[in-house]
Amino acid sequence: MNSVIVLEAKGIKKHFGGVVALSNGNLQCRKGRITGLLGANGSGKSTLSKIIAGVYRADGGEIRYNGKVVHYRNPHEARRDGIALVFQNLSLVPDLTVWQNIVLGVEKNRGLFLDNQSAKELSRKILQQLLPDLDINRKVHELSPGEMQIVEIAKAISENPQLLILDEPTAALEQTQAKNLFNYMRSLAQQGVAMIFTSHRLWEVMEICDDVTIFRNGEDVATIDFEKEGKDPEKIVSYITGEVKKSTIQVQRREISDEVLLKVNITGKDKVLKDVSFELRKGEILGIGGLSGQGQQELIYALSGSYPGVRCDVELNGRKLRLIRPADAIQNGILLVPGDRQREGLSLEHSIYSNMIFPKLGLRGHPLFIPETRYCQECEQIARLLSIKAPGIDVPVNTLSGGNQQKVVVGKWLSFDIKVLLLADPAKGVDVGAKRDLYEYIVNLAKEKKIGVILYASDNEELIQYTDRLLIMYEGRIVATLTGADINDDMITATSMRVR
């Protein structure tokens, strides 16, 4: 049963700075069918749906909507044409009510004034099927994240779109809310609405979608029609991870000593990060993996003393510490390379030198006058060690490439007495060469100085290549520990998606 094609994307290309997000994206959406998009982090599926929705502009390729080629400059243009994107809590105004948000931007008038009556009726009608108990007069900031997500969905549907794009809509939803959503999606499909549905939860995709397109490394690699070909989770996983083994270096799993460097115990009533306990051994590189947004970043920040939502108690070389603020961690040699290097790791207009010496200045007992000559030498040494490509250490870091910027961030700590190095996705957006330099250096550091490294990476490849042990997180907790030969794509994906 092949219904009309509503939207066709061919050969879509997109890059952000130096990083290629999509090299060849293709997708077909048909009237009344729900198409799933699956793929690992960074595979390009989110980027493609955002391009279709008008959030990003494609760098190449073409999109045909109802037969016509379209170029949307912003999501509002796409919305007017009938393509609606369900945002993830990015388009709701907290101080307005539910119904006011649902019609925000497209309010209708009655005479000279706003027609609130019909707006409320419309809201009630839509929510009837999604969340009947919700009082549409509540202010959005009072709602739970799940309720907010439903309001976002209602907002997208309110204009009767032809194509509805749901980008990970179930991330914030409870079980019953998700079930209601699926029922509603089925009724929409019956009315002829085409839908794109992305999710990390494989079972959801298998439940609600009519077909699924799998992305890997910036292109679509397979499309499975569930009606014709049935639903085989293992086959899908294999498409996601790729059956063709790349020529990977045979990863030598190193022998790690049994000496425990750090015992971690995190407790608290946080929404994202739940109770976590583990140990880190000397010289070990411990990876934190799993689907994105399961609490990995929060764990790293908690260990650096900068996540006040939980209580972080550690035992470092036998000494008990509670990490409440960054200075606690830093004074004890637990050092953080943060996730967003531009917003958290650097002062962009300052020089390499300024950035590198900065954390030292906050240490207790640092002299008033900065020993310039000595620091300059140290800084240059570190720059050489890390192969930072720059005309000099006095240039501002915003002139450097992403990879070199990241090296500066790491370089900040190299003159410290490092005990534990925390890395929050250090190679994100970094080119291949710089990535290799960075990791080589870190691995050497771990081997020679016997420090402990806790590494979170969104790219599984990095985890596979460099970690000695890998903890998989799901919904704020550790759900699997992989060691030795188990650290491979297949196992990682499977445990991340709770298939195994």
Binding site: S304, S306, R325, P326, A327, A329, I330, Q331, L336, P338, R343, E344, G345, L346, S347, L348, E349, H350, S351, Y353, S354, I357, F358, P359, L361, G362, L363, H366, P367, L368, F369, I370, E372, T373, C376, E380, A383, R384, S387, I388, K389, A390, P391, G392, I393, D394, P396, K412
Partner: protein, 327 residues
Amino acid sequence: MNTVMSRPKFLSFRIYEKYKKIVVVFILIVLLFVFGATTLPNFLSVEQVFMTIKLASFTALFALCQMIVIAGGGSGLDLSVGYTATITAVLTASIMDGKNEPLLLAVLIALALGVMIGLANGVLTSYLKLPPLVVTLAMADILQGIVNAYVAGKAITGRPSPILVTIAAKFTGKFPNILFVLILVTSITMIILNKTKWGQILFGVGANERTAYLSGINVKKVRCITFTVSGVLSSLMGLLLLGNMGIAFKDMGSNYVLPSIAAVVIGGVSLAGGEGNYLGVILGAIFLQTLTNLLIAFGLGDAGKWLGFGIILFAMLSAYASNRRSR
């Protein structure tokens, strides 16, 4: 990879950008001078130039207070500098009463006042997270109120110590003494900002609050300190203003508030924080003073001055804003 093996000359920020902005201000000043020289007699006389520098020095010193607060980031501004100076002048005038002996006491009182006011501003903005502009504006109001209350009914008595008068008002040869104060303050400032950890921590906090926090810096404490320093400096300025004017009066300091901010903007220092080149600010103060002289010479007086300042500030804010706009 080639690293320059020599010591970096300026350890902080956009080197070329910094020079660029100072050059711009310098050119503007030269333009003004040329305009003045060609249209007015005596504009380029040595006396005039030094008089301009003398008056500009006061603005420049107030602008230092602003620069420090602004450098700390977080939309920092101190609108209470004017009345802090005023209240110090009013309260210490009668203590000094034209003699040199009580000068030390007056200075101590000024320091105490400055610390109190600055700390209050600092706590309210950093720890209670109230918007600095509103807090310091309200503080100025309170100080104005105190001055009014103190002054009610009686005339402000007291004269500054002769030492103060010498420093603030008098000349040595052709050079105004206050210029030497400015040079001294500038040297100390440049050393502290560029060579000590305090300066670098301040710029780090202003440039990126989150990065500074993750690097273990107590951001709130640093910002609180900037307001305290501003309070102390403006309080000491009160003594200098008193020395210059000879008497204390109610609105002594308020005319310096806008120019102090404008000098910072014109001097090319970013209002977002993270940098602070005092030389540019001094040039900015000189620019404003020259502009004022021109406006007065053309009979445009007060009105022209405020309108001109406002327009220039608005124009420079627009120019810098378009660099920052992300959408």
